[in-house]
């Protein structure tokens, strides 16, 4: 469990990225921070592994105040996946995956063997192990990034817009893969995105953020869709434009669900 307690972050240039932020991130679930750029979502994520230290307030992981923990050690037990994979270009795929275990002192041979298994886990062929990151496609690199994030078997996995730079088809694939992995491994995932559809797809808990890290609404995707608390949320999730408004049309003896344009999207099961 991760707990934010009235966390504020003001950068040296005076920008207040996050102000008085309170939230409980439940364990073994996916929590998604979603909002437009400048809403402080990445700052919030980076405060969890102390890439950024809060100006005031505290962040607790399983009841432990992170400000009392050494940043380097803390980061090694938290998985991190970022946009554009952030792989080390001078290390082979397998050594990239083995990075954190090796930093933790695991023997190189053992770490590499485990890394091969992780390639299987994220759906990559083992023949890619000896290649360099740049020889891989964007989607493959992103999978390596996920494998690297999982390598030290962390309880927490932070994902910072990990699929922002891959094409829509690959993104959809990676999203499904992320759901499968999260369910299979039971990690606490904190995911940052500006894409509300991605947030609703992946999140058990979705946090909609406004400028300055102010929470507009927290809830399950269904709760937010059913009761957007204000116009901002309604507009953000697309409810005001009728984007989320589906209607039922009777066709013969079946109920067909159609969207705002009358385009059929599915059939109701009786």
């Amino acid at each position: 469990m991760i707990e934010f307690r009235s966390v504020t972050k003001q950068f040296p240039d005076g920008t207040v990225a996050v102000e008085g932020f309170d939230l409980v991130v439940p364990p073994r679930k996916t929590t998604v921070f979603v909002g437009s750029s400048g809403c402080g979502k990445t700052t919030l994520l980076r405060m969890i592994n102390r890439m950024i230290d809060p100006t005031s307030g505290s962040i607790l992981i399983d009841g432990e105040d992170t400000s009392t923990l050494a940043p380097v050690k803390l980061r090694r037990r938290i998985g991190y996946v970022m946009q554009n994979s952030g792989l080390l270009p001078h290390r082979k795929v397998i050594d990239n995956v083995a990075t954190v275990p090796v930093l933790n002192g695991v023997a190189k041979k053992e770490a590499r063997e485990h890394a091969l298994e992780l390639l299987d886990t994220v759906g990559l062929d083992r023949s890619l192990a000896e290649k360099y990151p740049r020889q891989l496609s964007g989607g493959q690199q992103q999978r390596v990034g996920v494998a690297r994030g999982l390598a030290a078997d962390p309880n927490i996995l932070l994902m910072d817009e990990p699929f922002g730079a891959v094409d829509p088809i690959v993104r959809a694939e990676l999203q499904q893969e992320t759901i499968r992995l999260q369910e299979g491994l039971g990690k606490t995932v904190v995911f940052v995105t500006h894409d509300i559809d991605e947030a609703f797809l992946l999140g058990h808990q979705v946090v909609i953020l406004q400028k300055g890290g102010h929470i507009a609404q927290v809830g399950t995707p269904a709760e937010i869709l059913a009761n957007p608390v204000n116009d901002f949320v309604a507009s953000f999730v697309g409810a005001d434009r009728g984007k989320r408004m589906l209607r039922i049309q009777r066709v013969g003896d079946r109920d067909v669900v159609v969207d705002e344009h009358g385009t059929p999207t599915g059939v109701l099961q009786s």
Partner: protein, 234 residues
């Protein structure tokens, strides 16, 4: 080329002397430049000052510098240390800018990712920053190597043995073959040094070959820089 045949021993001896004169400045210059480049790159304010001062160093004419070295260092007139130190100064002057650019060229996202993985600052420098600056550092080192090998000949003017002896002696005694032999010998050393550096690069930076596009870009930058610098110094 009768002269060469009759003086093979001399030429060989001078080549060895020349090589042993050149290797320390190249290595020491490289080692000194990395921390200076790191500081210049890390603290933006210091960057301008450091680069200007070192740029000026390279414009000091070499002969006076060689002559003044004993006065500054308190070494004997004929000591090879004078030449080694002077050549090291030139090596540093050339290499610091490359080191600064090389370290600065490392993708900030990758450094952030490395920190997020749990590299400590020190580990990140040795295992990520320095290797990734490698291709640029290597190209700078090749320029330094060529410059050092050619500058070392001037040592002979102040009495420190190097291939420059063949120029001085050949001119004084009007033996063109001797001068030409000297030029060729200098060229051979410069080329061999360059090949050795390229080979070391292949061994130490195998990943940069997987990355043709970036390499050719690095080479272009370096070529432009060399073109600017070859006007200065000598």
């Amino acid at each position: 080329m009768n002269w060469v045949g009759n003086n093979l021993d001399l030429v060989w001896e001078l080549m060895l002397a020349h090589i042993s004169l050149c290797i320390p400045p190249i290595i020491i210059g490289f080692l000194i430049s990395i921390p200076i480049g790191w500081v210049a790159n890390r603290y933006r304010i210091s960057r301008g000052t450091i680069l200007v001062v070192l740029g000026l160093l390279y414009t000091i004419p070499s002969l006076p510098l060689f002559i003044f070295m004993p006065l500054i260092l308190g070494t004997p007139q004929l000591s090879s240390v004078n030449v080694v130190v002077a050549l090291t100064i030139y090596a540093v002057a050339l290499m610091v800018r490359t080191a600064t650019d090389g370290l600065g060229s490392v993708d900030k996202d990758i450094l952030q990712a490395a920190s997020a993985m749990g590299y400590s600052g020190w580990q990140r420098f040795w295992r990520v920053e320095l290797p990734l600056a490698g291709p640029v550092l290597l190209s700078g080192l090749r320029v330094v190597s060529a410059s050092t090998v050619s500058l070392a000949t001037i040592g002979s003017v102040i009495g420190v043995t190097s291939l420059g002896y063949l120029f001085v002696n050949g001119l004084q005694r009007s033996i063109p073959a001797e001068v030409i032999t000297g030029i060729i010998a200098v060229l051979i050393i410069a080329i061999v040094f360059d090949l050795v550096l390229v080979l070391i690069g292949r061994l130490v930076l195998p990943w940069s070959r997987a990355d043709r596009v970036k390499r050719s870009r690095t080479r272009e930058v370096e070529r432009a820089r060399t073109a600017v610098l070859t006007g200065a110094g000598q």
